[in-house]
Amino acid sequence: MKRHLISAADLSREDAISVLDTAAELASVAGRPIRKLPTLRGRTVVNLFYEDSTRTRTSFEAAAKRLSADVINFSAKGSSVAKGESLKDTALTLEAMGADAIVIRHPASGAPHRLAGWVTGNVINAGDGTHEHPTQALLDAFTMRQRLAAGGVGGSGPAGAGLDGVRVTIVGDVLHSRVARSNVLLLSRLGAEVTLVAPPTLMPYAVQTWPCGISYDLDAELGKSDVVMMLRVQHERMTAAYFPSIREYRRRYGLDMTRMARMPDHAIVMHPGPMNRGVEIAAEVADSPRSTIVAQVANGVTVRMAVLYLMLGGAEEAQ
């Protein structure tokens, strides 16, 4: 693996499968009476969060603690020089404190790239602006493999397997979604066939060059999807004229029970959270057995454990 995990493109297919396989092994830790491994004892992981994201921060925190790392949570709201310390100065401060890895969440695309230029430790991107969120893509891939690769009968997919031939439809505000970008890169590399569905206003410019299909018609895609992943759509997009109203958006791109019924029997519904129930996803769909939304959260911890384990050199110690 590369020294930093900033883009899903930093992972080769082998790297990605290695993360998924390691996560599958580590998942067993969660079932033990003492859920801790000594692997990262004495190592320091900093959670550097410039955006409120309790779910992602606590997921990384739990992952690091289960590997016995020391965790420092560093919250910094607002990022401009005018508002406070510059990212560079914060980076140098954390470096001086002996951070072995920095997990960064930042509203500006590319902030992890900049950070990586100023520190010697590993940088893990926990979501940067509208760019990427690679650990979300890894946990999504892990969840898909868990639910689908073994024939849709539950239990982990076979070690070493990718997602070859799995048809994944990602629906919603692709333009502003770091989750969509990372998933397109990672899932295509794992062999999945990804299709993006959104109103044309919420498709990125030149999306035709991405390794995925494009559709404006959700209903046309549902019947040929093994996975339907719904993205959060924010109310403020409406005022920027991306679509006329939440009601129209829901009618055209929301996943309700009627639409879910058109999906193949084995197909699953995913959502990276936080959800807007009643907007992009109906409450009944979110709470249905086909929804993996809660499993995604649980898998987030084990996948992030695997990333920290592999990146911080835990692999040599443990084997």
Binding site: V81, S109, G129, H131
Partner: protein, 435 residues
């Protein structure tokens, strides 16, 4: 600078605008003689064998940052950089602090230029008060001031209001002024960070669509035609803009345009690592745009090269991409970039370089003493350039500009400015400033 007019120089063996070899005798601030085998007893001799001699370069678009941002640049440091780049005149943009929207500020900048003495500083006046795009600044007062302003621009901001733009174009006809427009439709570029294209989409940076530039240029060309006024288009960056300007010129409308060295060479994929030295407005575009800009400069659709030299202190660039300042330095590399992009590619010969970097920008800026033929009687504004030098990697740390934000750092560029003369007095000799 009259006390310096005593310098007397004999420049020997240079190729005049890349053509025939000749000697040039500078005396009394003017070109006294041009020809083979000149003798000038008592004159200092510059052996210019193998060098190209050009009329002193004129930049229509320079940010000298003074008053207000002397941590980035001062008139002194910026004009020293200009002389080292082969320039003898620069137009100082109005987006200073305070804004150059009154006779007082433009006179201050003009005087600072006179005191520094490296190049002629021609202040650009703001079109609107505070660059706010609401009310016309006192354009006539700036025109009548000691600075004798003829170019007006809200550069950094677009004069987006079509009625205000029409009025500005009309109003400056009274004193032969020109409005230099920063063409950027504001609504189409809210939050824009990088050329809207494959790279920006992948990097998750908000797109700056070509259409936002082209829409304003098209509108302004129509307004220039309707009012019979002079429009100058700043930093043209897209293939579509070149097409529109070509069309406007074909109608005989009074439209001129500039392109920056960086838009002639660099493309948006350089933003891949989010290195903010490549953040500039208008943004770096695609290879197809670069090719169209080069073709436009070659066929004269684009009149001139202008640097948009935009110095920034280190901390303004050491930030997240979205937070970092727009702009690149360019004075000290402009001619070398033009050699690489235009001359070494066969698109322009040196006579055409003289036209695009001196003659035409001087004409557009109404700078009478510059861009004149290298002939007896012309002011002694001369640049000596060695196209055979290098290529050598650019080291921003060695630049005379106060700022280090050159996008060409580490790039191998050909050529070297050997000497620059302002009204017969050397400002640069052997690639070093004379004072």
């Amino acid at each position: 600078m009259s006390e310096l007019r005593g310098e007397e120089w004999l420049i020997t063996g240079a190729r005049i605008a890349g053509g025939d070899r000749a000697d040039i005798h500078l005396s009394g601030g003017v070109i006294a003689a041009v020809g083979a085998g000149l003798s000038a007893p008592g004159a200092r001799v510059l052996d210019a064998s193998g060098l190209i001699v050009l009329p002193g370069l004129v930049d229509l678009h320079t940010h000298l940052r003074e008053p207000g941002a002397d941590d980035a640049e001062t008139v002194e440091t910026g004009t020293r950089a200009a002389a080292l780049g082969g320039f003898t005149a620069v137009h100082a943009m109005a987006n200073t602090e305070p804004v150059a929207d009154t006779a007082g500020v433009v006179e201050q900048v003009w005087r600072l230029g006179e005191q520094a003495g490296y190049v002629d500083v021609r202040p650009v006046g703001a079109v609107t008060i505070g660059l706010a795009g609401k009310n016309l600044a006192e354009l006539g007062a700036m025109a009548d001031s000691a600075a004798r302003v003829r170019v007006f621009s809200d550069d950094g901001h677009c004069v987006a209001d079509p009625l205000l733009m029409r009025r500005a174009l009309e109003y400056v006809k009274a004193f032969d002024g020109v409005i230099a427009q920063h063409a950027q439709e504001p609504r189409l570029t809210e939050g824009a960070q990088l050329n809207e294209g494959e790279v920006a989409s992948r990097l998750g940076l908000a797109g700056w669509p070509a259409a936002a530039e082209e829409a304003i240029i098209a509108r302004d060309c129509l307004l220039a035609a309707h009012t019979g006024s002079a429009l100058h288009v700043c930093h043209v960056s897209t293939a579509g803009s070149v097409e529109i300007i070509r069309w406007a010129k074909s109608k005989g409308w009074r439209v001129t345009a500039e392109v920056t060295p960086h838009h002639l060479l660099l493309t948006d994929d350089l933003a891949e690592g989010y290195d903010t030295v490549f953040k500039v407005n208008p943004p770096l575009r695609t290879r197809a745009d670069v090719d169209a800009l080069r073709a436009g400069l070659a066929d004269g659709t684009i009149d001139c090269v202008a640097t948009d030299h935009a110095p920034h202190p280190v901390e303004a660039k050491e930030a997240e991409w979205a937070e970092a300042a727009n702009g690149m330095t360019g004075l000290e590399t402009a001619l070398r970039v033009v050699q690489l992009a235009m001359v070494d590619t066969g698109l322009l010969d040196w006579a055409a370089v003289a036209d695009r970097m001196s003659v035409r920008p001087a004409r557009i800026g109404r700078v009478a003493a510059h861009g004149q033929p290298l002939a007896p009687g012309s002011p002694g504004n001369i640049t000596c350039y060695d196209p055979a030098a290098g290529p050598e990697a650019v080291d921003p740390g060695s630049h005379a500009s106060k700022s280090r934000n050159s996008p060409f750092g580490g790039m191998e560029l050909p050529g070297r400015v050997v000497a620059t003369f302002l009204r017969g007095t050397a400002t640069v000799i052997d690639g070093k400033v004379t004072k």
